[in-house]
């Protein structure tokens, strides 16, 4: 127990050391850029300048400071990411179930699931827009499409990882199909489902930022491209770069935390 704790501490220590190393390299880079470029803040600003911009108090648009703009748009993006993620995860899970139930279906569509990932969203977007006639609904649907794949594949792998012997055993105990799923397949595939969920959580956020840029309105992607177009302070861009890394990581650990809460209970039920 004690050993485990100290190992954990080391893990964080090394992350911090890496982080410091990275920051040092960034700062050296920023120093070089500052000396040679006319507008260094567009290429690589100092970290303290980015952090400083978070605390700036002057209003940038009619009513908000830089940080308030980033925060309010982050809310919009995260909300869309969350809904897209839930829809995508549910769809992925159901699809995996269906594919496990009907093997021909799996053979038929599994190769295409990978392919859907390869269609650039710019190609998908006009079709989705033509169907929904609403850019925000389209954004959520596209975010869902971009995130369902890891959940689907991992769930399917989890369902298959349950050996046929165990399914046979359940059959011999006269358990019905529903019973088998409820008692055996669903609980034992859970760790795999969570692997999928953990992979797709940060993906949902990057996907949501990406679909923001399809059109105007609100969202991190929108203000990111506005900032790149110099329609507003470039520090909005840099803040988003930093924050998106932080939220991405946080989403991963958030799902891990949920897994830890859900799993102990499942273990008990899983050991039939």
């Amino acid at each position: 127990m004690k050993k485990k704790i100290s190992a954990l501490k080391n893990k964080y220590e090394s992350t911090i050391v890496w982080l410091i190393g990275f920051l040092v390299i960034w700062e050296i880079g920023a120093y070089i850029v500052e000396g040679t470029k006319r507008s260094p803040e567009n290429v690589l600003p100092h970290i303290y300048q980015i952090v400083g911009s978070v605390f700036r108090t002057e209003l940038v648009n009619g009513s908000q400071t830089l940080f308030q703009i980033v925060l309010s748009n982050m809310g919009i993006t995260l909300f869309r990411a969350l809904i897209g993620y839930l829809i995508g995860a549910a769809a992925g899970y159901l699809l995996a179930m269906l594919m496990n139930l009907f093997r021909p279906l799996e053979k038929m569509i599994f190769p295409y699931l990978m392919l859907i990932q390869m269609i650039p969203i710019l190609g998908m977007a006009p079709i989705v827009l033509a169907v929904t006639k609403d850019i925000d609904k389209s954004r959520i649907i596209i975010a869902a499409i971009l995130t369902f794949y890891p959940v689907a594949t991992n769930t399917l792998a989890g369902l298959k990882a349950v050996g046929p012997q165990r399914v046979e055993l359940m059959h011999s105990l006269a358990a019905g199909q529903i019973e088998i799923y409820k008692k055996l397949l669903i609980p034992s595939s859970l760790p795999y489902v969570f692997t999928g969920l953990k992979i797709s959580a940060p993906m949902a956020i990057t996907a949501s930022i990406l679909v923001d840029t399809l059109q105007g309105g609100g969202g991190l992607g929108c203000i990111l491209s506005q900032s790149l177009k110099h329609a507003t302070s470039i520090y909005i861009f840099w803040q988003i770069v930093l924050f998106s890394a932080v939220i991405g990581i946080a989403s991963y650990y958030g799902i891990s935390l949920i897994e830890r809460i859900v799993n102990p209970a499942m273990k008990k039920r899983g050991s039939v």
Partner: protein
């Protein structure tokens, strides 16, 4: 399988590789251009005491003196031809592409150059760091950012000059008002009412650009207040002057000659890979892209246009909410839309799903686009109809730095 190597060797490789990558990243920034940036820095700090405000007329007068180069940039007073040829030969002409490039290509062709150009990001960093020496800019936006030194600006003041597309005879008309042809047919009163109120908004905005800029800012544009004010002043010029420099008093008028020039240039420079679309483009006439009747009837009326068929309408802008579109914001703010019985929602643009797609798909009813984009969309198979031409001259310029 693998040869025996010691582990430290591998570690060393890891370290080497990662440092090598970082080094490539960073060293690049240090090299080169030290000299160039020094020149620029001095220029910027000198505050330019001389009163050489480089008016466009001076530049385009084509004083073909054998310009002796005194620095890495262009001398003030050098003729347009020599600048264009020099930049084109160095491969340093920049444009954003994505349907904004035709005027630049027409200019390059005019001076016998290849129509290739560098892709310019939607900022002026490439111009700033000299990877582009002849950069595209809109008079009301990028040119202001280059010259001014408020946030987001580059502060070049009068150390830059520009080539004007209107004066070079390669102007194409830009911001207009359009909708689906079928929509106009089914909702003539809505269309006329929308045109009437919008043009009233433009008229007020051009009479009071400072107030218009404040209104746009109030509606949540994140463009800084100073840049917004600059923009409003420049947009006013584009709305009230035609391609020949003659004042225009009728807001939204579709000038036949300028429209035809736009269509002709579009046919020459829009390159479509789809042979069906290319054929359609070649045969396109003005009547297939615009209708003057809605505008004429709207302007002839005194706002008495009959009940609109559709009272709740939306308009998609071509770009981010900014003073470029001040007329619509003013019409909304001053209640001009209410007066004609319309409830209007302004949708900002700037994403890759363009205004043409948004209107075509029925997501919005009206849109603001460039005439060339509308031409390309109709060639591709959309059936869009221009109903008013807000900008009477091209706002596109090619900007270059001056030797000091």
């Amino acid at each position: 399988m693998m040869k025996r190597k010691n582990l430290t060797g591998k570690k060393a490789i890891t370290v080497l590789l990662s440092t090598a990558i970082l080094a490539t990243l960073l060293s690049g920034c240090g090299k080169e251009e030290a000299a160039a940036s020094v020149v620029v820095d001095e220029a910027a700090t000198e505050e330019v005491v001389t009163d050489e405000t480089v008016a466009t007329e001076e530049v385009t007068e084509a004083v073909s003196e054998a310009a002796e180069s005194t620095g890495p940039y262009y001398d003030s007073g050098s003729d347009v031809e020599s600048i264009v040829i020099d930049a084109a030969e160095k491969g340093k002409v920049g444009n954003w592409g994505l349907g904004n490039e035709y005027e630049v290509q027409a200019l390059l062709s005019k001076y016998g150059q290849d129509t290739a150009y560098l892709s310019q990001a939607f900022d002026m960093d490439g111009f700033d760091d000299d990877s582009i020496s002849l950069a595209s800019a809109m008079t009301y936006n990028e040119l202001g950012l280059i010259k001014n030194d408020y946030e987001g600006g580059y502060g070049y003041a009068d150390t830059v000059s520009f080539i004007d597309m209107n004066e070079e005879g390669v102007a194409m008309l830009e911001d207009n008002l359009f909708c689906n042809a079928a929509f106009a047919e089914e909702n003539p009163n809505t269309v006329k009412a929308f045109i009437y109120a919008s043009m009233k908004g433009w008229e007020y905005a051009c009479a009071n650009p400072e107030e218009a800029a404040e209104i746009v800012y109030k509606y949540g544009s994140s463009v800084s207040a100073q840049h917004q004010a600059y923009m409003a002043g420049e947009v006013k010029k584009l709305v009230e002057t035609d391609t020949k420099g003659v004042a225009v008093s009728e807001y939204g008028k579709m000038d036949e000659e300028a429209m035809q020039q736009t269509l002709d240039l579009a046919k020459t420079y829009i390159k479509l890979d789809d042979s069906a679309a290319a054929d359609k483009l070649a045969s396109l006439t003005l009547d297939e892209i615009r209708s003057t009747s809605y505008w004429e009837e709207a302007m002839a009326s005194e706002g008495e246009l009959g009940a609109p068929e559709k009272a709740e309408v939306s308009i998609q802008l071509k770009w981010l909410p900014q003073a470029q579109f001040m007329g619509y914001y003013v019409a909304l703010d001053k209640g001009y839309y209410d007066e004609v019985g319309l409830k209007v929602n302004i949708v900002s643009g700037g994403g890759d799903i363009g205004e043409t797609t948004a209107v075509y798909s029925g997501q919005v009813d009206f849109g603001v686009t460039w005439v060339s984009n509308l031409i390309a969309a109709n060639a591709g198979g959309m059936d869009l109809l221009e109903i008013a031409q807000v900008y009477q001259r091209s706002g596109l310029v090619l900007v270059y730095k001056l030797n000091q």
